[in-house]
Amino acid sequence: MRIRPWQTLIVIVLLSLAAIWVDLPGQRLDPFGWKRNITVRQGLDLQGGIQLVLQARPPAGTVVTQEVLEGTRDTIERRVNGLGVSEPVIQTRGNDQILVELPGFQDPERAVRVLQRTALLEIIDTQGQFLPVGTIVNTTAGPAPEANATPTPTAGTATPTASATAASSAAAGATPQATTTPGATPTPEATATPSGPVYETIITGADLKDAYPTTDQFGNLVVGFELKPEAADRFYQYTSTHIGQPMSIVVDKQVINTATIRDAIRDRGIIQGLSAQEVRDLALQLKSGALAVPLEVVQSRTVGPTLGQDSIQKSIIAGLVGLGLVALFMILYYRLPGVISVIALLLYTAYVFALFKLIPVVLTLPGIAGFILSIGMAVDANVLIFARIREELRLGRPIARAIEEGFNHAWPSIRDSNISTMISCMILFWFGRYVGATIIQGFALTLFIGVAVSMFTAIVVTRTFLRLLLTRPFFRDVRWYGIAPSQVATAQATGD
C-alpha cells in the first residue's frame, strides 16, 4: 500500500496551515481562544531580568539534605510568586544550590533581599529593656524550619543555655550584619555571634496564621499578622502579665521594632516602622515561611531591558539576511530543485517557530543564533539529495528514477550526520543547565529542534514537491535541474 504523493501533499498543506496559524502573533484568527496560552517566551537576555544561583550555607556541622533543599526551594517559590514575576524558573541544582530566574524583573537588589532573607520572625521578651531598632540579639529560637513548626517548644522555658543545641548554633549562623535600616541588608556570611543576654522567644514565624500589608490607625503602612489559636493563648497570657513593659519584634535576629505593651493582645498584631516596600517584602517573606537554611548568592546575572530589545532587532535582521542569501544561492545553483528547497525552507521556518511556541522554547540570543545556524544546516539535507539526483541524471537515468535514487542514497548520510549534531546538542543542554540555565539551553534546544525538523522537511516536503512536479512533462528537461543536455551520459537507460 503505497502512499501517493498527493496524499502526502494534503498532510503537508494541513500541517503548514496549522503551523502558520500558531505562528500568527496574538489572538488573530482565534475564535475559540485556543492560542491564549501559546506565546513566545523570551529569555533573560532578550527581555531583561535577573538570574540568581543561591548556595545553601548550612551552619557548621550540619548537612543540607535533599528534603531541606526542596523545602527551601518551595519557600523561594512562594516568595517569587509574591513578587509577581510572570514566568519564573526555580529549580534545585546539584546537592545544595537553587537556581532562580526572574525574566522581566528589573530590581535586582530587591530580588536578592526578598529571596535571601531567612525571615525568621520572633517576638521576644526583652526582660524590661527597651532595645533600639537594629540591635542584633540572641534568642532562644532557632531558624525554625517549616518541618518542625509545632508551636510549643520555647515558650515557658526560662533562659535555656545558649549553646549546645543544633537549633541555637544554626541561629547564630543566620545572624545578619548590623545596620540601622531594617530589611535593607540581606543576611549573608555573618560571622560575629552577638554577645549579651539570650532573650526568650514568645512567638515565632511558625506561629503565624497569616501576614499581610495593612495600615495602622494613623494610616501608616504596617505588616499585620494573625496568630494560630494555640499561639494566641500563649501570647495573651504573656501580654496580659507584662503590661507597661517593652516587647521587641525581631527578624533574623535583628530588632526591627520595639513597643510598650499597652493592652493584652490575643491573636492580632502589627509591625511598624518600615517603609512601604519593606512592609510588602516582609509580609511576603513571613507568609512564605522562613528559609530552612541560610542562602548566599554565588552567581547573578542581571540584564537590562534595553540591551535585550537591541539584540532582538539585530537578530531578526541577521536571520532575514541569512535566509535570503541561502535562498538565492540554492536557486542559482540548483534551479528548479533549488526553488523547491526554498519553499521547503520557508515551511521549515514556519514549523520550527510553531514548535518554539508550542513546546515552549525559551528564546535566547544564542537560541536565535542556533536557529539561524540551523537554516544553513537545514538545506544541507537538500544539498545532499540534489547532488545525488544530479549524479543520477548525468548517468542518464530518467528523472523519476533519479529522484528516488537520489533520496535513497542520501538518506544514510543525512541520518548519521544529523544524529551526531543531536548528540552534541543533548550534552550542551546538560552543560547549559549548570552554566546559565536558559541562555545556553536555548541554543541547544533550538539547534536540536532545527536539525530534527530539517530531516522531516528534506525527506517529506522536498520529496513530495519533486514527485508532484515530475508528473508534469513540462519539467522533464534536465535543464530545470541545472544540467546541460550535453553532460548527460549517452548510454541512455542502461538500467542497473
Binding site: P108, G304, G319, L325, I372, I423, W430
Partner: protein
C-alpha cells in the same frame, strides 16, 4: 579527476601550519578566561556622558578595587571587569553611588557575577562536556560503521579531524586573547561543542560515500576509492559550508555585539570542519589502511641499522 588523496601530506602540512602557532600561543599565554570560569564580575553601564577608562579606574581604586579592567564602547557604554561584586551588597551600592557622584546618572545594562568556586565548577563541567561529546560521537560512529572492516578506524579518524578543528579554534582564540583581549566564556564552549557536532556531521557524509563505494568496488585500490568518494562529495561539502557560512556571516555582521565572538568561533570552526573532513579525516583513513606510518618507522629503523 582531481587527485586529492595523492597530495595528502601537503594537506597535513597546511593543517600544521595553521595549528602550530595557535598551540605555541596556547602554551605561552594560555586562554584568556572570562568570569564564567574564574569568578568575578562583569558590569556594563551606559553613562550619560562620554568617560575615559582611566577616570573610572580612579574611582574604583578609591574604593579599594585597583585591579579592575575597564573598557569603553559606543554610546557611552563602560564595561568593568573586576573581582566578584555581589548583587544587592552594600559594596555594590557604595560603588554605584561613587560612580554616580563622579559621572552623573547611568543606566545599568547588565551585571554578571560568578563566585570563584562556582567558576571552577563550570570550567570542569565544560571539560567534561567536551569529553562526553567526543565519546558519544565516537560511539555513534563505531555503531553506524559497524558493518565495515574496522569501525573504530573511522571513529578515530573522525575524532582526529574533530580535534583538529578544536585545536584551530582554541589556538586562534588564544592568539586573539593575547593580541586583542578576546575572552573565552561559556558561550565559547557552546560554540566549540557545536563545531564538534558539525565537524563530525561533515566527516560522516564523506565516510558514508567511502563505505558505499567500497561495497560497490568502485575503483581498484582503496586510495582511489577514497579519492573518488571525496571528489563526489566535494561540491556538496562546499555548498553546505557556504550556506552555513552565509548565515553565520549575516549573524556576525548584523547580529549585535553580545554574540559576535560566539559567532566568530562558530565561523572559524565550521570552515576548519569543512577543510578537515575533506583534507584530513579520509586521508587519515588512507594513511592507516596503507600502513604508511608503519612503513615510515620501518624505513627509519632501516636507515639507522647500518650506522
Amino acid at each position: 579527476m582531481l587527485d586529492l588523496v595523492g597530495k595528502r601530506y601537503y594537506w597535513f602540512l597546511l593543517s600544521f601550519l595553521v595549528i602550530v602557532p595557535g598551540l605555541i600561543s596556547l602554551a605561552v599565554h594560555g586562554l584568556r578566561l572570562s568570569i564564567d570560569f574564574t569568578g568575578g564580575s562583569l558590569w556594563e553601564l551606559r553613562m550619560s556622558r562620554p568617560v575615559q577608562p582611566g577616570e573610572v579606574r580612579q574611582v574604583l581604586a578609591q574604593h579599594g578595587i585597583d585591579d579592575a579592567i575597564v573598557q569603553t564602547a559606543d554610546n557611552n557604554v563602560v564595561l568593568i571587569r573586576m573581582r566578584e561584586l555581589k548583587e544587592g551588597s552594600p559594596e555594590k551600592n557604595q560603588l554605584a553611588q561613587a560612580l554616580r557622584d563622579t559621572f552623573g546618572d547611568f543606566t545599568e545594562l547588565r551585571l554578571e557575577s560568578v563566585g570563584p568556586t562556582l567558576g571552577i565548577a563550570i570550567r570542569n563541567r565544560a571539560i567534561a562536556a567536551v569529553a562526553l561529546t567526543t565519546l558519544g560521537i565516537l560511539g555513534y560512529i563505531a555503531w553506524a560503521f559497524r558493518n565495515t572492516n574496522n569501525p573504530f578506524l573511522y571513529g578515530i579518524a573522525a575524532i582526529i579531524a574533530m580535534l583538529h578543528d578544536v585545536a584551530v579554534v582554541v589556538g586562534i582564540f588564544s592568539i586573539l586573547g593575547w593580541l586583542r583581549g578576546v575572552e573565552v566564556d561559556a558561550l565559547f564552549v557552546t560554540a566549540l561543542l557545536t563545531v564538534i557536532g558539525f565537524s563530525v556531521h561533515d566527516t560522516i557524509v564523506v565516510f558514508d560515500r567511502i563505505r558505499e563505494n567500497l561495497a560497490r568496488r568502485a575503483a581498484p585500490t582503496f586510495e582511489e576509492i577514497v579519492n573518488y568518494s571525496l571528489v563526489q562529495t566535494l561540491v556538496r561539502s562546499l555548498n553546505t559550508s557556504l550556506t552555513v557560512v552565509f548565515t553565520l556571516l549575516a549573524l556576525y555582521l548584523f547580529g549585535g555585539e553580545t554574540i559576535r565572538t560566539f559567532v566568530l568561533a562558530l565561523l572559524i570552526g565550521i570552515i576548519s570542519g569543512t577543510y578537515s573532513s575533506i583534507f584530513n579525516a579520509s586521508q587519515i583513513v588512507v594513511v592507516w589502511e596503507n600502513r604508511e606510518l608503519h612503513r615510515l618507522f620501518a624505513r627509519l629503523r632501516g636507515q639507522h641499522a647500518p650506522a
